[in-house]
Symmetry: C2
Subunit: 234 residues, 2 copies
């Protein structure tokens, strides 16, 4: 008799980072339970991408939790604030962008923690990286470590001696390396979605920070870019 693999919760947005994090979790030997938060973001097409990615990478379960962060607003992704376009790498590196969603990763990790505790998982995977998104405070290693410490104080299983581990396998990788890693692990990048401001039909704008980072990443990685851009994009 073989023991079943341990379970992990993977936060899956439908973008290429979280898809790669899911592939890493599967490679690490976990039975992956993917969790997508539909938070009222402009790019809700991400949620559909997440379902495709979860299926393609063999997640044993994919749950979608609805939480309308538009009730708070405060971000270009959740309120009527323009998504920045055509910014240079230098501009992206200077300060926290308008697409920052207040406390988003704290909320998402808290929900992942709840899910993990209910299914008996001690491992949570999240696709944050601190290189390309240097402006997002909740993508930094010190944030991840602080959340891990909190998780062990916050939960019944933590108090009883279990130890949660928050894995951020991409946190030190630039986008090109994430793309190469994903390709090596069988991620079908064509299923993923990154654009902050897609067309109603789901085509990428080619102009927002996320599109620009993605395009440059594929170029640097020397991997063909399967993204479907809107006419006139870029």
């Amino acid at each position: 008799m073989s023991t079943p693999p341990p379970r992990a919760v993977v936060l899956l947005s439908g973008g290429l980072d979280s898809a790669t994090a899911l592939a890493v979790a599967a490679q690490d030997g976990f039975a992956c339970h993917a969790l997508t938060i539909a938070y009222g973001q402009r790019h809700a097409v991400e949620v559909e991408a997440a379902a495709r990615v979860a299926a393609a990478l063999g997640a044993v379960e994919h749950r979608v939790m609805h939480l309308d962060l538009r009730a708070f607003g405060g971000s270009a992704l959740t309120a009527d604030i323009p998504v920045p376009e055509h910014r240079s790498a230098l501009e992206m590196a200077s300060g926290i962008p308008a697409t920052y969603v207040p406390a988003r990763n704290t909320i998402f990790l808290a929900l992942a923690l709840a899910y993990a505790e209910v299914i008996g998982a001690f491992d949570i995977y999240v696709g944050v990286n601190s290189i390309d998104y240097s402006g997002y405070p909740d993508c930094r290693p010190e944030f991840i470590r602080a959340f891990e410490a909190l998780a062990n104080l916050a939960t019944k299983v933590g108090v009883e001696g279990g130890r949660f581990h928050v894995h951020a396998p991409l946190i030190q990788l630039p986008k090109a390396d994430i793309i190469r890693l994903g390709a090596s692990l069988g991620v079908d990048h064509g299923l993923t979605h990154s654009c902050y401001a897609p067309t109603p039909g789901g085509l990428a704008c080619g102009k927002c920070d996320s599109c620009l980072l993605r395009k440059a990443g594929f170029e640097t990685a020397g991997v063909p870019d399967p993204t479907r851009y809107a006419a006139g994009a870029g």
Copy 2:
């Protein structure tokens, strides 16, 4: 010209603890923005109580965020698990009860943090107490301090030097003292709701841990108990 009072976010469940926390925040001089999470709990009548309490105590705003934690289950409050009845104080003190909702306070504080960041508040009030609910890991002082540390790493304003303060003014108080404090601050306890398993009409069962603690608290405090119990309760 007078400066407007600073803002605080108050997590308001509609129970007597969080109502008292709101009264303390108002007494401390804050303009109070109450936040209620409708999380699919059995006792949804709490949410209506929260609206009444927020109005009565002069909150400048009351937002209700919907987040269906029944998607995860794992608790007598969010899944088809019986709510314990007629437990003694000793039984309540021995371990984490079935009414524990996995990672609930981490999720709620994360949402309060997002709200606070959007409205420019640095103070969050929460009505947890570690005396009566000794079994809930996320009601302990070390949890609150860990969340406060996380908040300053997790947010744009924290990174920019702002400092969040999570106030848990009831954390060391037994229920009777909370009731006395609330009475002294003008809390109308008749507006609050504590029962985990109310009747469809919103009457308290008189049997669950929360009812038993509330009843005993009023008795010890020597304050008349305005709770409307179901016929045959207790």
